[in-house]
Subunit: 767 residues, 2 copies
């Protein structure tokens, strides 16, 4: 309806880099081998909470082949993604706060020597009490992990109160109160963190790293290494996934740089899978106590949220995720009374951080489950209740968030129709059920994490008759396909084939500034910068073509490799001929564009952390079969309908949606990092930590609803994080539909199902 006709946008394009990846030719950071490069290795703490009494590196230093040994005191500057509240150092100083924490590092001529050197480093610890449960960490007499933290082990606290929650709940027809607990899960990207750092004699630092955020790594490396940003270049080779886990500087990156500075040789530090679990930054386990009210007709009256976030040992993205969790309560339903009360707690475990759909996945699990319960309590279809409350079109939340465009209702209706939800819900045999849930996500944020007013994205396009189209943009392709999206937009604007655009990205010097790949921001933000650059390029080129053709520039368009008049068919010339004429007369043909998100208020306050230029919406219906013998939950059918605005590449949107659903399925049913009481991870490997495999994955049907955000580049919105939101409650609502048990703790293992079925049987026997 709103959609426009495009020649490239909206068509299924195979990514240029796909064949090289499939054949193993793509170059990931660990593939890089530089002359004289050393292998860096990290010595990890073998206790979870302890004072470091001494570190003896003398034997390691003596080992032939060892070129540098590093300890924390050599790089005392703290860093953090929010620069106002840094909590970490490259290596532990004075104490360790989780089992596996980096304490020392070596660079040696090969891996075996480096490993031997690690064994020779002797560390003496004085053990402290280990808190792996946030409640224990919050106890009055608990030893604070961070002595300089104001509130013991409470890292951050937040309260927000919009409307009058108490009054609204008191006046509600029904109020439901429940407690939900989410689990401790990792992103499990395929490529472990890897970084190659090379210092040269000019004191310049080059870093090749598998990061989502070259810019943030750039800033943090500058802090930790105490050197100007202009002397550091970060470049990003092919990335094998990040999902948030590569969303800030990681220890391997800083250690590689520090070891290179010390040894004056290139140093590579690639994590093992175990070290990826140490680095972690996975999803916060949250214990959420929620009260939710509804009126007689099924309109939601209030949400009262009380949450305890288990943050692990360090700050990281914690404060941002805390506030995003608050923001995520307000959508995608109309609700005018919302109270948020939450704490993020330091515990002795690897640090939690940003993971795909951060802030939304846990409350969505709780809220969509409770709305199902409320609907059933009211004798209403969950679809009806959700549709009733769903926002539509433009919407302003009570917290001050402005949604400029939403087709969420379409998502609900489409997924319900396509899945046959209404025909199945409460009508399938015992053991089989369907569940509906909705969700949404931001398409970028209004602010940089350090409150700068510079553009968030910028792009530069250069046209040359020989080399073609070069598009430089600092946006980082982490496997999500941003290079493809930007190339498609650029090509559409210029009327050239998508394949003709050469993208230079993910580099702090070779491409103009971009914040990085997080918060589903790239399509909208970098896309807007690219579109502006392309428009400015045409504004230069079309008048030159007009001179040649003999007409006014304002009647000319670029398309199909030509510049042509929209009025007179015979007025046209080949695009590249016009470029040649331009270059001969004016010199290089380039243009830049940039994007700064709209800001609704002049100041930053908790209430508008959720501000995003625009939002994507999605609704899911899961169908499950519960094996009542084994307790196994099998997802047997899956439908999704999403509002991602105009899909730039539908094939790629489908991939994003499927990936989101599978990832959330893992969190719903299988995944959990398990810790021994001493804080050691029991399952830090992909044998014991279970992720879904092809055999677990149902046939997923995705559908993009007709949508076009007129204020977005080519009408596009996010598609990679919204779709992870509804999966957990959709599956758990389906389980409820199948066996009548409401589960509130993740993951939903066969043991829990069997136990619940037995309990249910016992209850039914009692009654």
């Amino acid at each position: 309806m709103n959609q426009r006709k495009f020649s490239i946008i909206g068509t299924d394009k195979v990514r240029k880099e796909a064949p090289a990846k499939a054949r193993g030719e793509a170059i990931y950071t660990d593939d890089i081998k530089l002359p004289r490069m050393l292998i860096g290795k990290i010595k990890h703490s073998d206790c979870a909470h302890a004072r470091i009494i001494s570190i003896d590196t003398s034997e390691a230093e003596k080992l032939p082949g060892v070129k540098a040994v590093l300890v924390g005191s050599e790089a005392p500057n703290k860093y953090g993604i929010v620069p106002q509240a840094p909590t970490e150092t490259a290596l532990a100083i004075g104490k360790v706060r989780f089992h596996g924490e980096p304490v020392a590092a070596v660079a040696a001529v090969d891996e075996a020597t480096a490993d031997r050197a690690l064994d020779l480093i002797k560390i003496e610890y004085e053990l402290l009490p280990v808190y792996i449960d946030p409640h224990a960490a919050m106890a009055k007499d608990a030893v604070p992990l961070h002595e300089d933290n104001k509130y013991g082990n409470i890292a951050y606290m937040a309260k927000q109160d919009f409307g009058d929650v108490d009054k609204a709940l008191a006046e509600s027809h029904r109020v439901l109160e429940k407690t939900f607990k989410t689990s401790y899960v990792n992103h499990v990207f395929m490529e472990p963190h890897s970084c190659v750092a090379r210092f040269d004699d000019n004191g310049d630092l080059m870093m090749w790293s598998s990061t989502q955020v070259p810019h943030y790594l750039h800033t943090m490396a500058s802090q930790v290494l105490d050197m100007p940003m202009s002397k550091i270049q970060v470049t990003v080779p092919t990335v094998g996934g990040g999902f948030g886990g590569k969303g800030e500087a990681s220890n391997n990156e800083l250690v590689a740089a520090l070891l290179s500075r010390k040894s004056l040789r290139p140093v590579k530090v690639t994590y093992s899978r175990k070290e990826v679990f140490f680095q972690h930054r996975g999803r916060h386990p949250i214990e959420m106590k929620i009260r939710m009210g509804v009126d007689r007709e099924g309109y939601l009256t209030a949400i009262d949220y009380d949450g305890i976030m288990d943050g692990g040992a360090y700050g990281a993205w914690g404060i941002i995720i805390l506030f995003y969790t608050a923001a995520m309560l307000h959508l995608p339903y109309k609700i005018t009374n919302v109270r948020f009360n939450a704490k993020r707690i330091y515990t002795n475990k690897p640090t939690c951080g940003p993971m795909r759909g951060l802030g939304g996945v846990q409350p969505r699990f709780a809220l969509e489950s409770m709305m199902d319960d409320l609907a059933i309590m009211l004798g209403m279809s969950p679809y009806e209740l959700k549709l009733k409350n769903a926002i539509d079109g433009k919407h302003d939340t009570v917290s001050g968030v402005h949604v400029r465009h939403s087709e969420y209702k379409k998502c609900l209706t489409e997924v319900v129709n396509r899945s046959g939800y209404l025909e199945k819900h409460q009508k399938l045999p015992f053991g089989r059920g369907v569940g509906l849930a909705g969700g949404y996500y931001i398409s970028g944020t209004a602010y940089t994490l350090y409150m700068s007013y510079k553009p968030h994205s910028s792009a530069l396009i250069r046209l040359d008759t020989e080399s073609g189209v070069t598009l430089q943009c600092g946006a980082t392709d982490i496997g999500q396909g941003s290079n493809m999206v930007l190339a498609m937009m650029c090509a559409e604007k210029l009327g050239l084939p998508y394949e003709s655009v050469h993208v230079i990205s993910g580099d702090t010097k070779n491409a103009p500034f971009d914040l990085g790949s997080f918060a589903s921001r790239v399509t909208v933000a970098a896309g807007a910068a690219v579109c502006e650059a392309a428009d400015k390029l045409l504004a230069q080129l079309l008048p030159v073509a007009a001179v040649h053709i003999g007409c006014r520039a304002d009647q000319l368009l670029a398309g199909n490799g030509e510049i042509y008049s929209k009025f007179e068919k015979e007025l046209r010339m080949p695009f590249w001929d016009a470029v040649e004429k331009y270059i001969d007369a004016f010199g290089p043909l380039t243009a830049t564009g940039s994007y700064t998100p709209p800001r609704r208020t002049g100041e930053f306050k908790g209430g508008n952390v959720g501000h995003s230029p625009t939002y994507g919406f999605t609704a899911h219906v899961a169908e499950v079969e519960v094996d009542t013998e084994t307790g196994e939950v099998k997802v047997v059918g899956y439908n999704e309908a999403g509002d991602c605005g105009q899909p730039i590449n539908p094939l790629s949107v489908e991939g994003q949606v499927e990936g989101s659903i599978v990832m959330a399925m893992g969190q719903a049913l299988y995944e959990e990092i398990r810790l021994a009481p001493d804080g050691r991870i029991i399952n830090p490997n992909l044998h014991d930590y279970k992720v879904p495999t092809m055999r677990d994955i149902p046939h997923i049907k995705t559908y993009a609803v007709d949508s076009y955000d007129p204020d977005s580049p080519f009408g596009a919105k996010e598609a990679g994080e919204g779709p992870i939101q509804p999966t957990i409650p959709a599956i758990l609502n389906a389980v409820y539909d199948a066996i009548g048990v409401r589960f509130t703790e993740l993951p939903l293992t066969p043991e829990k199902v069997l136990q619940a079925l037995e309990e249910k049987k016992r209850q039914e026997g009692l009654s």
Copy 2:
């Protein structure tokens, strides 16, 4: 006098890349190892002239580990640096024209397998007569190397006649006629040719190559592979020297690309030293018969030049060198009657091509030797004669070449004064002597080799508060230091430290267009583009600073990291603060510049091939000791005075001058590729082919005369090819001064000296 005050220009800067090179960390093409990369190897002809009857690759194809076998017929498109007259194919088709010619190629999983596969390729030849002497090749009944060539084995002929040579010679006081022969020498750059090519499934080709001319490789790869230039990217890793020898596509590059297309895997082809001699493109041996007239006062009246250039098997740069040789007769002396008559001949030997100072070295050897003779005949100091005839300031040659700036007379006077030439010439004991010679060279050319009107150089500068200064320019650093020169110019313009400029160069997609590194063009051409870009950047930035400071932009200057008023000391602000304000308000801060050389006529004609924006001049005095027992000539002292305009980096100019002198010393005294009668190279290795070592090199004193070309960027002119021109005649004039023998054939081996001394003794005995 003309020099201006700069803060960076004119200071000795160490190149940023120098330490990495010294430590072995710089990444040359052969250091690149890509996943799944194959090793490509070439099967070379073992006869010098033959018809190819058959090539049987079947056994090679069967060898396990062999992924592609290639023969010439698979890539029939001919190529050549002058696209109008292509003569070569990637692999021989139908016949071979020199011993060592590439005939077939393989790509295999490792070098040993590739070598075994080469052995399995069976080629049947029908031998043809081998011509290693151009006179034999020109014989009436000679078999033409190229059947489609119009004039048998005469590749190209040129005649130019300016003034009235016959009349001038007839009226001359003295006329000298001599024949000179130069030798067959190779550049002997340290890094052999190497190329890694990678085709992807999109049909895009990426080439990493050790080339001076990514742009020309780009065009030729496009021709040979029959694919659009926009689908090819050429990038240049660190280069270990080129000196002209990497001045066009070489077989290894095309073969790597073709093998990669065939195997769909990355392929590396690195030459052995022997293969470098096969690829060759070294200096043309020329037999020059010259008549030169002089009047009573020592003013030159006419030059009549007759030359036969031995071109080897293919066209290559031949026609360009032929015309440059003609052009080089007209300077640096005023002479109004010049006749040039020359042929370039096809012979059965590796192809000659562009080598440092192309076109000038051979005639300079002859002319400066003859001027010495004429001076002595007139009882005049060679210095006096040369100074009398030398051009000064602006000058127009009879051939139409316009010199806009020259300080050649200063060079002559300075080098004579500094070396004590006048005190030594004809005054040293037998066996010791001094020789004076002068020379000059172009600083770029007025035309591209394919007569395009697009700018020859372009540059793009981007300023960012975090990443600093990024300068993109397609100019190619082949070890001559162009990145440094361009960074210094950019930094000087912006008033920032040289170290703060990050240069992206030598890449056809990642940097804007530049023709490449040849003809001593980069400092003037790319330098001008950089200066224009910097000026345009300041034109955007200064008004923003003016708004902030509260003054008019036209009183602001950039310097010392600040923007400041030239009138009022207190009106100033930090440079980067102004950049921040610009970016916050306007978005990315970039500017481009380009350079197209001035053209004096609208059309191309032989007479103005020598056109260059400007010219560098130089004069040398060599002092030699001739061991009359062994015949060994030892250069014991060396002085140079050069006019390279304003030296950008005096340290680097010194390096260029010293390098030129040492290279020419090799040609004068040691170097010669020797061929067996069957066309096989006898000495294709650095054990048997002798280049000067540290033990042979005298202490060289260089001096940059006060000079500033006001029309050049920062007054600069070339410094890397002019200084190779006078060395051979300076040494040979010194030998004449030492032992009274005029040598006219290179190299001047001890055998030749001994033979000449014996002949002289015999002659003196006779008289």
